[in-house]
């Protein structure tokens, strides 16, 4: 028996050279003298299905840091965003955050914008004990572990959660749209879509509405939605609840209108981007509504919007505003903690009270790490979302 006859030498050489390359890596990590900037990680959707969210947030975080640095930074040190692209993919999110935390040695992570992608990074930051703030991840599971009902110590967010958003949507459908029956279309790939659908169904049936059917699709690989829309059309519901992201939502509504479905469509904050109208078409998107975090035509947002416009020459979406708030929330926490030590930062975030963001006041509930924030409802009209009403949290 020639057990090891054929060798491993080549493998060894390659592995060794890899380890040598590795050895030359970062050795002086974690130094905190005042000359080095404070590194903050950004786990963001810079490409892929929700790229518009990540790009808006990246701009806003950079804006917030620049403004703070102009005022002399925080603790006498400048802030620096180290952004990593998670390609709107949960698997990529894990490795992006691993890189941020272990290689770039960031003190905290901002991101990501969508729930599934954020959820994938949770174990990494928890194992490495680094606080993470999701600007716009609305799924309830992000901050509270559904397995034991306990709060996840290292995860925070700057937005409301889906149970609230679903309730707002259901109430609007029942009272304003006068809907008695509804159908639901769920993106099977997204925790956000599933959670928001569930919240809607619970509240809609509680208000004596009837769910006629639920259909599923997989974002990213499906482009032809007519088979499921044909099924919904046959049931003829008063409205369709469509919790998804703008890219698929645009296609779905367009194809529904082509099949002659005229009922209102409604969804959540995942709709918030002008791409929606490019893809769906202005006319098809009429008679559709969505819940959102903020309205950019809100006067409270005026300074932020004009600063953003001056720098990036475009109007920010709601995700931009939340990214800006998350960045400033972190700055405030560093100031309150007077340190960049992750454990102290965590405590500072957990006890944050009355932080004034452009998207509303944030007081973190230590039991859930969720802020209490109001929601707005927007109606899409001729290629533009218009502010309809604001709903305060109970």
């Amino acid at each position: 028996m020639r057990l090891f006859r054929k060798g491993f030498t080549l493998g060894m050489i390659a592995l060794l050279s890899a380890s040598l390359v590795a050895g030359c890596g970062t050795t002086n990590s974690g130094s905190s003298d005042s000359s080095t900037p404070i590194k903050v990680g950004g786990n963001l959707e810079l490409s892929g299905g929700t790229a518009m969210f990540g790009q808006a947030a990246q701009n806003s975080i950079n804006l917030a840091f620049e403004q703070q640095n102009a005022k002399g930074g925080v603790l006498g040190r400048k802030l620096e965003l180290v952004a990593a692209d998670n390609k709107s993919d949960a698997g990529e999110s894990t490795s992006a955050v691993t890189k941020l935390v272990t290689q770039d040695k960031v003190v905290a992570v901002i991101g990501s914008m969508t729930s599934s992608v954020t959820l994938a990074a949770v174990p990494v930051v928890t194992d490495n004990k680094i606080p993470m703030i999701s600007p716009s991840g609305t799924n309830a599971k992000l901050t509270v572990d559904p397995a034991n009902g306990e709060v996840r110590p290292w995860i925070f967010r700057a937005c409301f959660i889906d149970p609230f958003q679903g309730q707002v949507g259901a109430n609007f459908a029942l009272t304003n749209l006068k809907a008695k029956t509804a159908a639901v279309i769920i993106d099977q790939k997204s925790d956000y879509s599933k959670g928001l659908a569930e919240a809607f169904i619970t509240n809609f049936t509680k208000g004596n509405g009837q769910i006629l059917g639920t259909e599923q699709y997989v974002a990213g690989s499906d482009k032809d939605f007519r088979p499921i829309l044909t099924r919904i059309k046959a049931k003829n519901p008063d409205m369709v609840w469509l919790p998804g992201y703008y890219q698929e939502v645009g296609l779905i509504v367009k194809q529904a209108r082509e099949l002659g479905m005229k009922m209102p469509f409604m969804g959540g904050d995942g709709w918030d981007d002008p791409q929606l109208f490019n893809i769906g078409g202005n006319e098809a998107m009429n008679n559709t509504f969505y819940c959102d975090h903020v309205a950019t035509d809100d006067p409270a947002m005026a300074t932020f919007v004009s600063d953003y416009k001056a720098k990036f020459n475009s109007v920010p979406n709601a995700m931009g505003a939340l990214g800006y708030d998350a960045a400033n929330l972190l700055i405030k926490a560093i100031e309150n903690a007077q340190s960049t030590d992750p454990e102290k930062l965590r405590t500072a975030l957990e006890t944050m009270k009355g932080f004034k963001g452009v998207g509303g006041e944030i007081t973190i509930d230590p039991k859930t790490h969720n802020p209490q924030k109001s929601a707005v409802i927007k109606a899409n009209k001729d290629g533009k979302p218009t502010f309809l009403t604001r709903v305060a949290p109970q």
Binding site: M1, R2, L3, F4, R5, K6, G7, F8, T9, L10, G11, M12, A14, L15, L16, A18, S19, V21, A22, G23, G25, T26, T27, D85, D89, A90, G91, T94, S95, T98, K99, T102, Q103, S116, L119, A120, V122, P123, V124, D127, Q188, K189, S190, D191, K194, V218, G220
Partner: protein, 317 residues
């Protein structure tokens, strides 16, 4: 039984231990950043995957492009054992590998009457069916994926990789391995010489699937999250590329292919937008200038060390 402790084996053993010790030292003394550890563990995983696919495609001459399907079975079954039922890691890995082997048997039996491109598309179809089954199973998180804690350490990955490769290497050098090679060289001739071709094709499929499942288990228990999308046909292509790049039919070639591709991917990580473009160009250039892969069907061997001492090393591949 020939001498287990001839000079080559000892040198190889020493080399493996030394390699392990050096890397372990770098990790223990915190010289190596954890990000590189990820690459090292991925290399171990891909070595198992490419060697096991080589068993099917290179040694037995079949054409499977659904290897990610077996990997998915191993990953999910082991994740269910370790994360949902809190079973021990080794049990999870074994369960995953055995489940994948069973899947290999189930696919192998009916589809092996196909050959060439039709077998390829059938295996690809199988891989996609596996993925869609997991995608529709809420128990394992559906399309959104399944999060679990990271239990695999560098030691686990390395030891499992070395064991897998030795086992597969021994299989190839055995009578059964020879039978598989005879199928690759000429199926009809092999059959007329009394080789039960169906049996050996199924054995190769089952064994390849077993190790792919093991690799999947290691992957799942290291990466924090598994998602059906991870195991799409593109992953099968990745593995196939490693095998062909290293040299179809060469066990060491598969190892080299896995190391080269994983390192390339890691080194190019700092230029993400160029990464796959450069990989593609390298791949095309490689195939144009050396279509048989880096090692061809040759094996990298330590036999030059054994010429004096080992009189048993007479037969050559």
């Amino acid at each position: 039984m020939r001498n287990l402790f001839n000079r080559q084996n000892l040198v190889a053993l020493l080399g493996i231990v030394l390699l392990y010790a050096v890397i372990q030292g770098l990790i223990v003394f915190d010289i190596m950043p954890p990000f590189y550890k990820l690459t090292l563990i991925l290399i171990c995983i891909y070595i198992i995957l490419s060697t096991s696919l080589n068993l099917i495609n290179g040694i037995t001459g079949q054409f499977s492009i659904g290897h990610a399907g077996f990997m998915a079975v191993g990953a999910y079954i082991s994740a269910i054992v370790t994360a949902i039922h809190h079973g021990p890691l080794l049990l999870g890995l074994l369960a995953g590998a055995i489940a994948a082997a069973l899947a290999g048997l189930v696919v192998g039996l009916p589809t092996l009457r196909l050959n060439g491109d039709y077998l390829a598309i059938a295996t690809l179809g199988f891989g996609e069916i596996v993925r869609i089954v997991f995608l529709n199973t809420e128990y394992v998180g559906g399309a959104a994926g399944f999060t679990l804690s990271s239990k695999i350490t560098w030691t686990w990955a390395f030891v499992l990789m070395v064991l897998s490769v030795i086992l597969m290497k021994n299989f190839v050098s055995s009578t059964h391995g020879r039978a598989c090679i005879s199928i690759r060289e000429n199926e009809i001739a092999a059959e007329s010489m009394g080789v039960n071709t169906t049996k050996y094709k199924v054995i190769a499929f089952t064994m390849g699937a077993f190790f792919a499942g093991l690799a999947g288990g290691i992957y799942a228990n290291y990466m924090y999250i598994i998602q059906p999308m991870t195991f799409s046909f593109l992953k099968s292509f990745d593995i196939l590329v490693m095998v062909v790049l290293g040299g179809l039919g060469s066990m060491t070639g598969g190892i080299v292919g896995a190391i080269v591709m994983t390192l390339a991917s890691a080194l190019l990580a700092s230029v993400p937008e160029w990464r796959l473009v450069i990989t593609a160009v390298l791949l095309i250039a490689m195939m144009l200038f050396r279509p048989t892969g880096i090692l061809g069907t040759k094996e990298f061997s330590l036999s030059f060390l054994g010429k004096k001492g080992d009189k048993n090393a007479t037969s050559k591949n």
